[in-house]
């Protein structure tokens, strides 16, 4: 019984049906089912499918945004119940932005959206972000991950500077640093000492989760 209603919730996310997602979430609470399980086996399952479909271009950004809205609607009902039970896991925090000199942000927005939809607490600094701002914000919110994006080759050196600045300030080991964006390659990411790279939003989420696991966070 619980499996079928969780599947129904997953489908609401896939369909981007905000209203139905809210109704199903309420029903789950009324039935006394575990809200955390509803998130993991319903919402996250649906969102995984959405991420995969977007990665395979079966759907496009508007559908992903609608799915995220449906997820948000259901979460607004499920989360308070989890908090009541005090079983809410602490969410992992990501500080994300497009680096200095670059005013393009659609790629960064997609990654931020998918991270949020996958349960991360995302602090989006916007675009043209000076590197010290990434660090300042990460320190403030006690972030786990700093994610930097760019579409411009002339802004790529700032990613390198970001890692160097973390080293200079003795903060490098404190954060997982991920990079991505149009001209950024896996090899280049490795060469500057970044911890992770995502070819697309879906990979970025996967890598973020894997890196957290490896670091035992």
């Amino acid at each position: 019984m619980s499996e079928s209603i969780f599947n129904e919730l997953a489908q609401c996310v896939i369909d981007g049906n905000e209203e139905k997602a809210r109704i199903i979430a309420k029903r789950i609470i009324e039935m006394g089912l575990d809200p955390l399980k509803a998130i993991n086996d319903g919402l996250m399952k649906g969102m995984r499918q959405v991420g995969e479909d977007f990665s395979n271009l079966k759907i496009y950004l508007p559908e992903v945004m609608m799915a995220a809205e449906a997820m948000k609607a259901a979460l607004s009902i499920l989360e308070p119940k989890i908090l009541e039970k005090k079983i809410m896991e602490e969410r992992r925090k990501v500080v994300i932005g497009t680096v200095q000199g670059d005013i393009h942000d659609i790629g960064k927005n997609i990654v931020a959206l998918l991270l949020k939809a996958n349960g991360f607490e995302v602090y989006d600094l916007g675009r043209d972000v000076p590197i010290d701002e990434f660090i300042k914000r990460a320190e403030e919110v006690k972030a786990d991950i700093i994610a930097a994006s760019t579409l411009l080759s002339t802004s790529m050196p700032y990613m390198e500077d970001l890692i160097k600045m973390l080293e200079e300030r003795g903060l490098r080991d404190k954060y997982i640093v991920m990079v991505g964006g149009g001209p950024v390659t896996r090899e280049w990411a490795k060469s500057i000492g970044a911890d992770g790279y995502g070819e697309d939003g879906d990979e970025a989420v996967r890598v973020a989760k894997e890196l957290l696991k490896v670091r035992g966070k």
């Binding site: 977007f54 271009l57 496009y60 950004l61 000199g101 080759s153 002339t154 802004s155 700032y158 070819e199």
Partner: protein, 452 residues
């Protein structure tokens, strides 16, 4: 420009996120309202009324939303009569370049018998500086069939990493223009049109303007739009200066297929709107349609080619806008796949009333992955396909795309080799291995009825 600046300050305030959401919503509504449908088996639509609908929807989108100014967070809006007035007064053609190397760039219509002009160069590709850069550009300029060269992006200048907004970016702008001029002189075509120098800051671009050793009035520079339908005061200021200098202005748009506008249908609508913004706000002489797949960064799959074709048809049936398809490929030079992508792009664009630009490769991720040979093929295909009808092109594409489409995933696409590996650096001629691949694809194209 005064009126545009005034509207950039006095227009309707909108948070940028709301503008994106509005655009997303409106594109969706317009696709539904006009019943625009992507057909993967008819890449070149033969439905004139659908092309006209895409034009009308694009116009509606632009008039409703306007052009978003990121600096002031205001929407620069126009009335329909203002836009129609600008469109009516566009010229039928322009002369680009100078002296014996000048070429006429005319408006093209659907199934036009006039061959397309090709603006070539290592578009969006990171390049080595100095001698290698000059030789890379020369590899394009020496191809007699090529009409114009543009720039790649430099990673370094005098060994110094180029960061946006630094003195090195300004120096790079001057060097890029100087090296482009050197390349066309070495190729024996000193008056050839140079269509851009690739630095990011609008302020740095201005450094390239130099009638003696840089961008002349017969050359051009690109003014970019931000995704989707956005500009800034810096970009408008660049337009102001280029207009007073007197060189050509290219309106660069990079609509994202799969982004805010959704699938091919919505992307086609926003792309039309971005052309209109380029006409009225950038005073553009020609427009670069650099369609970008959200994942694979190319424009040569079925969805991409359908989109550029219907946009080309929409514009050429309803306006005198000269649009150039920036043929961005997933694969790299030295591979069959890149040439297959270029051939498909060349045929699809030509029959749809577009001009050509290219080829970009590997999502611009790999250094020095650009050579003149793929641009030669792109233009040859364009010239060879001018007499083809849309139905014939569809038949060709439906047979041709299966020869490469499984390789378009950016992670899977063959990366090929660098310019230095594929060309003899002494003679600046393609090496045998690259020529053999080119000849093979050429023979295949002839077998498929494209008589290049």
């Amino acid at each position: 420009m005064d009126e545009i600046t005034r509207r950039a300050f006095e227009g309707q305030y909108m948070d940028e996120r709301d503008f994106d959401l509005q655009l997303m919503k409106k594109c969706k509504e317009l696709v539904k309202e006009y019943d625009i449908k992507f057909n993967p088996n008819e890449i070149i639509t033969t439905d004139d009324s659908m092309a006209d609908d895409v034009f009308e929807a694009g116009m509606k989108l632009f008039l409703d939303l306007g052009f978003y100014c990121q600096t002031t967070r205001k929407c620069i809006k126009f009335d329909e009569w203002e836009l129609k007035y600008e469109l009516k007064n566009l010229p039928e053609g322009i002369i680009i370049g100078e002296g014996k190397d000048a070429v006429v760039m005319n408006i093209r219509r659907v199934e036009d018998s006039k061959p397309p002009i090709i603006h070539s160069g290592p578009t969006g590709t990171l390049c080595s500086e100095g001698d290698i850069y000059v030789k890379t550009l020369r590899s394009y300029a020496q191809e007699r069939i090529i009409d114009s060269i543009g720039a790649g992006t430099l990673a370094t200048i005098d060994g110094f990493k180029i960061r946006k907004g630094t003195p090195q970016e300004f120096r790079a702008a001057r060097a890029l223009a100087r090296w482009a001029r050197q390349a066309i002189i070495e190729a024996g075509r000193p008056g050839m049109h140079i269509n851009d120098i690739a630095v990011v800051s609008p302020e740095a671009k201005i450094c390239a303007l130099d009638p003696y050793n840089g961008i002349r009035k017969t050359d051009g520079l690109i003014v970019a739009q931000m995704v989707e339908l956005k500009t800034s005061l810096s970009h408008l200021s660049l337009v102001e200066h280029l207009m007073s200098y007197g060189c050509f202005i290219g309106n660069l748009m990079t609509p994202i297929l799969g982004g805010y506008a959704g699938g091919p249908e919505g992307t086609a609508i926003v792309t039309v709107a971005e052309h209109l913004a380029g006409v009225i706000c950038y005073n553009a002489n020609y427009h670069y349609l650099s369609l970008t797949n959200v994942k694979n960064l190319n424009g040569t799959d079925r969805r991409g080619l359908w989109t550029i074709s219907i946009v080309g048809q929409a514009l050429s049936r309803n306006t005198k806008i000269m649009s150039v398809f920036d043929c961005y490929c997933a694969a790299g030079p030295g591979t069959e796949i890149l040439l297959r992508e270029a051939a498909a792009g060349g045929v699809a664009a030509t029959v749809s009333g577009l001009h050509l630009m290219g080829c970009g490769s590997c999502g611009g991720k790999l250094m020095d992955h650009a050579t003149g040979l793929e641009a030669r093929l792109l233009k040859e295909v364009g010239v060879a396909s001018v007499k083809m009808k849309r139905r014939e092109v569809n038949d060709f594409l439906n047979k041709w795309l299966p020869t490469y489409e499984e390789w378009l995933d950016i992670a899977k696409a063959p990366k090929g080799k660098t310019f230095q590996e594929l060309y003899d650096l002494g003679s600046v001629k393609p090496k045998r291995e690259w020529m053999e691949i080119y000849e093979k694809i050429k023979r295949e194209l002839i077998d498929f009825g494209i008589l290049i």
